[in-house]
């Protein structure tokens, strides 16, 4: 009463002003490292593992994965086109969850602004070029949680080693 409540609030503000460090960071210079499970842009896709089954396309609520395949000689499919439309993607991750062969992963990027709409439809060429260097997100793949990003080894190799180490956490036991 008699203004003591206001004074209490004012003292809290003064303490914060004098003692607390800013909680925010200055974005372009400093950036917060997203966690390993971050569900971000630029999907990581391994063509050698993809069988062209298009389960991801069926699982996508928006229907923005386009797969065109041709039949091969020995009961197999070759993926001719694999287009992901980032413009309509809402990064729900259902495609990653659906993929039975661990060929598709979410990526770590969150800065995917672009000047042209066409460049946001990511195709096979782009995905293939990015696959060896991009670190796949461990979303829906907890076995990748502990992956050592800084070691400099090619990512597929690490991934393979990790998966062999955790055989029973992979697809087989899901």
């Amino acid at each position: 009463m008699y203004g003591s409540g206001i004074l209490k609030g004012m003292s809290l503000v003064l303490q914060t002003m004098l003692l607390k460090k800013p909680f925010t960071v200055q974005y372009p210079e400093k950036r917060i490292e997203p966690p390993r499970r971050f569900r971000g842009a630029s999907f990581v896709w391994y063509e050698d593992r993809c069988t062209g089954c298009a389960t991801c396309a069926k699982a996508c609520p928006q229907g923005n994965i386009q797969i065109i395949t041709t039949e091969g000689q020995f009961n197999q499919y070759f993926v001719d086109r694999f287009d992901i439309d980032h413009l309509r993607c809402m990064f729900c991750g259902l495609c990653v969850e659906a993929c039975p062969y661990d060929a598709l992963f979410m990526g770590p990027d969150f800065e995917n602004a672009s000047y042209s709409r066409a460049s946001l439809v990511i195709g096979k060429k782009h995905l293939n070029a990015a696959a060896p260097t991009r670190i796949p997100s461990s979303y829906f793949h907890p076995e990748l949680d502990r992956i050592d990003i800084s070691s400099g080894r090619p990512v597929p190799e690490i991934r393979k080693a990790e998966q062999e180490k955790n055989q029973d956490i992979g697809w087989a036991s899901r």
Binding site: L94, S137, Y139, F140, P142
Partner: protein, 367 residues
């Protein structure tokens, strides 16, 4: 001598700083006193219910993130709860614990945001808003670490949760639980005893118990008016019967009581989180289901105590892989039904804080 005055119609919104989204109030005011108010909504209508009729049960989950975008985890829980009730899908125990932890963290985050907005509506210079957003960020960090995104989480699945918690989740949760009570004390220092806040909020937007029940209000709106009704206790879902917590109720049903109920709910949420942190077992987190599964034909209503009130999903299935009809009982939408009764007779400034205390999110109102 009395001067003749003319009523003036003010279009409050849809782009007004404190309508909490694209929401419009057509206010007829006599000077500063409101004589009539008409809520106008639908600017954010995306046809969520219609969209869900063409999606599988799993694909509906990302849609629910976009309903109440301040508490997506709770929306997910309610959605999968309806599907589980319809299909009798078992949920592993660890998954139930994870759901409780997530839902209560979400309640903390939502009430943090709401408390910050309340003082903003009252006209402080964003100070408390930034404090509450700081804590909300920490909670969203936990979500991001678990499921990859901060807001559009899509974490719950029929039959459990998407994936297990990461290793560092529980230590981080522990740190948050230790810190949060002090932060809530800080919020209270800025609000609970502040004379100006008391003068502004006490006796404003008073809603009687009878009106609250007849109008179907839920959540803090109902409890602020003194009705002890909490779905977590009265219609226990998940494993809430294992936790000790109280239901705070207000007395007068005014803006202050609703705020007070929310603050107390935050403290109770912390209590639940402490117990869940203590008891969480190891084990499976998800019942195996095919990617496109079918539910038996029939109807089910799954409801939870979302931060804003009773959030229910009414699912009608015809045996297909997609719901035949999905209806969302959105608490914000139904709570808005009494807005007119709460604001007529008060001033324009009171309408703003009353709307803030209803705690609407337009994603949920318009769906």
């Amino acid at each position: 001598m009395t001067l003749r005055t003319d009523p003036v119609t003010i279009n409050f919104g849809p782009h007004h700083p404190s309508t909490h989204g694209v929401f419009q109030m057509r206010i007829t005011a006599d000077g500063e006193v409101i004589t009539n108010l008409e809520p106008v909504m639908g600017y954010l209508h995306r046809g969520c219910e219609k969209l869900s009729e063409g999606r599988t049960y799993t694909q509906v989950v990302p849609l629910t993130d976009r309903l109440d975008y301040l508490s997506p985890m709770s929306n997910n829980v309610a959605c999968v709860l309806a599907a589980e009730r319809l299909g009798d899908i078992p949920v592993p125990e660890r998954a139930e614990y994870i759901r409780v932890i997530m839902a209560e963290l979400q309640r903390l985050a939502n009430h943090c945001a709401m408390t910050g907005f309340l003082l903003n509506d009252l006209g402080t210079f964003f100070t408390l808003f930034h404090y509450t957003m700081r804590e909300r960020e920490k909670i969203l960090d936990l979500f991001e670490m678990t499921c990859g995104t901060r807001v559009t989480v899509s974490y719950m699945r029929p039959g459990g949760v998407l994936q297990d918690l990461p290793e560092e989740f529980l230590p981080r949760l522990r740190a948050l639980l230790d810190e949060m009570p002090h932060r809530i004390d800080d919020y209270e220092a800025l609000i609970t005893q502040n004379e100006i806040v008391l003068a502004r909020t006490k006796g404003v937007g008073v809603m009687s118990k009878e009106l609250a029940i007849a109008a179907g209000c839920s959540g803090p709106m109902l409890r602020g008016s003194g009705v002890k009704w909490d779905i977590r206790k009265n219609d226990t879902y998940s494993i809430y019967d294992r936790f000790q917590f109280d239901i705070p109720v207000g007395t007068n049903g005014d803006v202050y009581d609703r705020y007070w109920v929310r603050i107390q709910e935050m403290r109770q949420s912390l209590r639940i989180l402490e117990q869940a942190y203590r008891d969480i077992p190891q084990g499976e987190v998800r019942t195996r289901l095919p990617l496109f599964f079918r539910l038996p034909s029939g109807e089910a209503y799954g409801r939870i105590e979302a931060p804003k009130g009773e959030l229910g999903f009414y699912l009608v299935s015809d045996g297909g892989i997609a719901p035949y009809r999905m209806h969302v009982r959105a608490p914000s939408f139904i709570n808005l039904g009494v807005l007119r009764d709460l604001t007529v007779g008060y001033t324009v400034a009171d309408a703003v804080i009353t709307l803030g205390s209803v705690d609407i999110v337009l994603g949920e109102v318009d769906r």
